[in-house]
Symmetry: C2
C-alpha cells in the first residue's frame, strides 16, 4: 500500500489473503489453527479466507497425510496450495543456451527442455522463435489435468527495464531492446516478467537459506559478465529505469581497461572471465575482449595460478581487488551485508579472496575483515531456475487475491 494511495475496505481482505497464501507457501502444509498462529489473524477470519480460497480452487484440504493423528480432540485438517490450479513457465536465457521449464502451483517440475542456441549470432527473432517453440512443446506435452499457464518468468543475462518487460541490452546477443515480455504475453495471453538473472539468484537464495539471506544481502554473479542482485529491507532493489544494480560497471580505474559495455575501467573489465583471459594472454587491457570464454581454458588458467606465482595469479589478484573495490563502495552506501558469490568466479574464490578482503577493509579502521560474510555457489543455473520459479509463484500468490468475487479466472495482462 503506497503512502499516498487511497484505502478501501476490501484492501484489507486482499492483504490478509496474501498473508495466508504466503505462510501456506512457506510451510507447505498447514491447518487452519496453524495459520492462525502464523499470521495472528483470528480463527473466524482465517476460516472465512480459507473457505473462499478452497471454493476458488486455490487451496485444497489434504486429509490423507494425517501425520499428527494420535492426539486428543478434533483432528486438524491440513491445507495446502492446490498444485493443479495453475502452471507457470520459466525461461533462462544464457550464453548459447535456453532452458525452459514448466512448474505447477506448488513448485513441482512438470516438464523441461534445454536447447543450445548460438546466441552470439542470433537475432531477436531467432531467440523469440526458439523460446516459443520450446514453450509450445512443453505445453503440448503437459497432461490435461494440470492447470492452465498463468505466468512466465524469464531470467536473462543482460540489462532489463524496470517494468520487467524488455531486455534492454545483453552481452550474449547482438540485438538490443528485445521486448520478450510483450511478445510472450501476447502469444500466451499471460503476465510475463523479464528480469536480470542476478535478481533471480537473489530470490532463490532467500528461499534456500532464509536465515542467512533474509532482508539485506547481495548476490554477485561472476561469470561471462558481472552482475548483482540486491535485497534491501526484504525487497529486491531495482534501478530507476533499468532493473539491475549494475555492480560490474561501477568504476574501478578511471580510464582503465576496456569493458564489454564500451566504457573503460569497469569492475567487470578486471574481474570477469574475459578480463582474466585478456590479461593472461598478454594482450592490451584496452583491446576488445573475447565474447565467449571456454570453461576448460579458464579452469586451466586458474590451476596454473594455483600452481605458481606468475601472471595468472596476478590476474586473479587484480580481479579480487576490483571486486573488493566495488564492495567497499557498495558497503559505504548501504552498510555491509552478507554476500553470495555465484558462478565460475566463485570456483576460484581461493585465488581472489585475500586481495578482495584487503581492499574492502583497507589496513585500518571501521570493522574487521572477518565481518565480511561471503559464501560461494559455483553453479548459477539451479539458482536462476529456482529464482524464476519463485518469482512466478509469488506473482500468482499476490495476483490471484485481487478479484475476490469473480474467482480464479480473472487475470490481468499487466506485469
Amino acid at each position: 500500500m503506497l503512502l499516498d494511495e487511497i484505502a478501501r475496505p476490501d484492501d484489507v481482505r486482499r492483504q490478509n489473503r496474501r498473508l495466508v497464501l504466503t505462510v501456506l507457501r512457506q510451510h507447505g502444509l498447514l491447518s487452519r489453527t496453524d495459520i492462525v498462529a502464523q499470521t495472528g489473524l483470528s480463527p473466524s477470519t482465517v476460516s472465512a479466507i480459507t473457505t473462499a480460497l478452497i471454493s476458488e480452487g486455490i487451496v485444497t484440504e489434504s486429509r490423507d497425510a494425517d501425520a499428527a493423528a494420535n492426539r486428543r480432540g478434533r483432528p486438524q485438517v491440513a491445507l495446502t496450495l492446490n498444485p493443479d490450479i495453475a502452471t507457470i513457465a520459466t525461461v533462462e536465457l544464457a550464453l548459447n543456451l535456453v532452458h525452459a521449464v514448466l512448474f505447477d502451483y506448488k513448485g513441482q517440475l512438470i516438464a523441461e527442455e534445454f536447447r543450445r542456441v548460438s546466441t552470439l549470432d542470433a537475432t531477436s527473432d531467432d531467440l523469440i522463435g526458439a523460446i516459443c517453440s520450446m514453450l509450445d512443446n512443453l505445453l503440448e506435452s503437459k497432461t490435461s489435468g494440470a492447470g492452465r499457464l498463468m505466468h512466465i518468468s524469464m531470467g536473462v543475462q543482460g540489462v532489463t527495464d524496470a517494468a520487467s518487460t524488455t531486455m534492454l541490452w545483453s552481452p550474449i546477443t547482438p540485438d538490443s531492446n528485445i521486448p520478450f515480455g510483450e511478445v510472450l504475453s501476447e502469444r500466451y495471453d499471460v503476465a510475463v516478467g523479464v528480469a536480470n538473472d542476478c535478481n533471480m539468484i537473489a530470490e532463490a537464495l532467500r528461499w534456500i537459506e532464509p536465515d542467512r539471506y533474509s532482508d539485506d544481502f547481495a548476490a554477485i554473479l561472476l561469470s561471462h559478465g558481472i552482475g548483482m542482485g540486491l535485497y534491501l529491507k526484504g525487497k529486491p532493489f531495482l534501478g530507476v529505469h533499468s532493473s539491475a544494480a549494475e555492480f560490474g560497471h561501477m568504476l574501478h580505474v578511471p580510464d582503465g581497461a576496456l569493458c564489454r559495455c564500451g566504457r573503460h575501467g569497469c569492475i567487470e573489465a578486471y574481474a570477469s572471465d574475459y578480463a582474466i583471459m585478456r590479461k593472461t594472454s598478454g594482450r592490451n587491457p584496452k583491446d576488445q575482449p573475447a565474447q565467449d570464454v571456454d570453461a576448460a581454458a579458464y579452469e586451466a588458467i586458474a590451476n596454473r595460478a594455483r600452481a605458481e606465482d606468475g601472471e595468472e595469479r596476478a590476474a586473479f589478484r587484480n580481479a579480487g581487488q576490483a571486486i573488493g573495490s566495488g564492495l567497499r563502495s557498495l558497503f559505504s552506501l548501504i552498510d555491509p551485508v552478507p554476500v553470495a558469490l555465484v558462478g565460475s568466479g566463485a570456483g576460484v574464490f581461493d585465488l581472489i579472496e585475500e586481495d578482495l578482503r584487503e581492499v574492502v577493509y583497507g589496513t585500518s579502521g571501521w570493522g574487521a575483515a572477518e565481518d565480511l560474510k561471503i559464501r560461494c555457489y559455483p553453479d548459477e543455473h539451479p539458482l536462476i531456475l529456482q529464482g524464476c520459479m519463485m518469482t512466478s509463484l509469488l506473482h500468482l500468490d499476490t495476483q490471484i487475491f485481487a478479484p475476490r468475487d469473480a474467482g480464479d479466472a480473472s487475470l490481468k495482462r499487466a506485469v
Copy 2:
C-alpha cells in the same frame, strides 16, 4: 503497510486520514470538495474524516479567507491545518554551531536561537547541555497559546543509526555514539528523530522544487565532509544499520589519500575542503588533515585556481574526478538521477564540473554528458533547517492519525 503484516478495518481509516492530512499540508487551504478531488475519496468519507480531524483540533475551518466568493451555490469552506495544535523543534548541529528553532504545526517559525559552540573539543555532555539550554529558552519564550511540543528533529553532520536515535560518529566532535534521541526524548517527553544533515537537505529539496526532485534524486553535501541524501522511489534511502548513504566514503583510489574516517582513498579524502587545503599546502596526502577549514582561506584558494593553472586548479580538478568517480559508480547501481550539489563545494562548481562530467561519462558509450542534471545550492543551512522542519511535521501527520478515539493527546515515545 508491510507485505507480511496483518490488516485490520481501521487501518483503512488511518491510511485515508493520512492521505487527507498530506494533501492539506501540500496545498495549505482546501475545501472538502477540493479534498475529494485531490484524494479520490468519496464526499461522505471526506466529510467523516474532516469532522473527526476538526473535533480533535488538528484541522480548523478558516472561514475568513473567502476569496472565491462570487460564485453561485453554497460557498466552500476552506480547511487548514491548525497551527496551534502542536509545536515542533529542530536542532541543527554543525561544526562550531548549534541552531535550534521552534515551529508551529503549519510550519511557521515561532522562535530560534543560534549558539556558537566549540564542537571540536566539546564532550557529548557539553553538546547535550547546550542543546537543552537552548530548547529550554525557546520553550519558555513561547506564548502560552501555541501547542505543546510534540516532536524534535535533529540534523547532524555525522553518521546516525538507522533507528534515528543516536549519532554514531561525527567529524565535528570527539565523542561518538551520542544518544541525542534518547536524552531529548526523555527530557521533553516527545518523539525525537536524529538524522544526517544530508537527508534533511534532500527532504527540503523535495518541497522546494518538487518538479525537479520528486521520486528519485540525490543531494550531495560538499563541505567539511562529503555526504549524500538519496531518495529512491519517493522514499529516503537509508542504510541497513547506519542511516546514510556514505557517498564520501566510497572508494576512489585504493590505498590512496588518508581520509578523516581513518581509511585510505575515500572520495572525501580528495574532494572535501580539508583535502583541497592539504593538497594545496603541499603536504603529503597521507598526512592527517586539518579538522577545521577557514572559509576565507578556502575561498582564496578557489580564486587562485580560477586565476591561474597551478596546483590549486589541479586540486579542484582532482576533487571533480573523485566526485565524478563516485557518481559514475552510484549511477551504475541506481541509474542516473538528478543531483543537487550543496554547500561550499557547490560554490566552486565551475572548477570541478569539467572533470566531474568527463569521469562520469568517460569518453564513449552509454549516454551523453548533458544527461547529467546538476544544480548547485551553496548555502546548506536553510535547506537543513527546512528539512528538519518537514521531517517533524510529516512525523506528526503520520503519527497523529493513530489513536482515532482518544483524540490528540496520545503520543508514543517511539520514533
